[in-house]
């Protein structure tokens, strides 16, 4: 049942950008971008995307995000940006998910700066078009 739900969910992705296409392998529930596995929590990721459309999602790998209390500022900093629709923090995988409006030109330096303002380091990121 979960697999069917996820399969259904995955077809809602719009493959609008060839650099950021999402390929879903239904047999093992992994998401690939350009052949590289996105290490995201499937359930969490699905919940995050729920209700989002015409959006871009930045999945940011962050170093030093070891506790909920220390990561609070990340969410507070990003939600001040009017182009940000939603923010989620995945402590287990050290990732921050940021949903931006389609019009936003996502700049990794800006993301790095905001993460650093909270005292952590953004290492790299991937953008998905939803």
């Amino acid at each position: 049942m979960i697999r069917l739900l996820f399969l259904f969910f995955s077809i809602n992705f719009i493959y609008s950008d060839k650099d950021n296409d999402i390929h879903h392998l239904s047999h093992n529930h992994e998401i690939y971008v350009q052949g590289e596995k996105l290490e995201v929590d499937q359930k969490r990721f699905k919940s995050f995307l729920d209700g989002l459309s015409d959006s871009q999602v930045a999945i940011v790998n962050v170093n030093g995000m070891v506790c909920d209390f220390c990561a609070r500022g990340i969410e507070k900093t990003f939600v001040r940006d009017g182009a940000v629709k939603k923010v989620d923090v995945d402590l287990e995988r050290g990732k921050v998910l940021i949903a931006y409006s389609k019009e936003k030109e996502i700049d990794f330096e800006e993301i790095k700066s905001k993460i650093l303002a909270n005292g952590q380091n953004a290492i790299d990121f991937t953008i998905l078009n939803i």
Binding site: R44, N61, N63, G64, V66, C67, D68, F69, C70, A71, R72, G73, I74, K76, T77, D88, V89, D90, L91, E92, G94, L116, A117, N118, G119, Q120, N121
Partner: protein
């Protein structure tokens, strides 16, 4: 109870309020600490994640004395890795009432599961003394973002007033922007520390 014992017990839990001495850039932190000996309120603001400035007002219940301190904390060094964070802070306080002051260093290393911290201070007060502690902790479970987080800790502490080492348990709860910390020692009964960030 002699004055040295009273001062010792007062100092015994002083470092409770040292947890998370700097917030995120633009972050405000309000702390309240209460035990049988004192009640304090400490507010600090972090213009950047590198330092915080704050004001602490303290009611010494035992002596019926009010004190105020201006406090400054600076992040000397931080190392972030995928699974850990290590910090070294300079901390200081200047009394608003007299010429007393405090300075020292505080360090910690933590993962989502383990915590190790230390603290060393030199205090200029009625009696000059040094104060140090080591704290270790473990999270019994790994909560996700927005969950209730729990830490079980042991703190061992010593100061130069009586050179006796005391070890006691601490339990911490985090939920969202709030923290509750409880400690117990047979001499001082329960201690409560509340913190909120905004």
């Amino acid at each position: 109870m002699g004055i040295l014992s009273k001062i010792f017990i007062l100092l015994f839990f002083y470092n409770f309020i040292e947890a998370r001495p700097i917030s995120y850039s633009g972050g405000h932190t309000l702390m309240h600490f209460n035990d049988s000996m004192k009640e304090s309120i400490y507010y600090h603001f972090s213009p950047t994640y590198k330092y915080s400035i704050g004001l602490e007002t303290l009611n010494n219940k035992e002596f019926g004395k009010h004190e105020s301190n201006i406090r400054f904390t600076y992040l000397i060094n931080r190392q972030n890795t995928k699974n850990s964070q290590r910090n070294l802070y300079f901390q200081s306080a200047v009394s608003a009432n007299d010429n007393n002051y405090i300075y020292g260093i505080h360090g910690d290393w933590e993962t989502r599961r383990y915590f190790v911290g230390f603290d060393y201070k030199e205090v200029k007060n009625i009696i000059d003394y040094s104060d140090k502690y080591v704290q270790i902790g473990m999270a019994p479970y790994l909560g996700e973002y927005d969950d209730l987080h729990t830490w079980l800790m042991i703190k061992t502490k010593k100061n130069s007033i009586n050179n006796k080492q005391i070890t006691y348990p601490v339990i911490k709860f985090f939920k969202g922007s709030a923290l509750l910390e409880l400690g117990y020692h047979k001499k001082t009964d329960w201690d409560v520390h509340l913190m909120y960030r905004f």
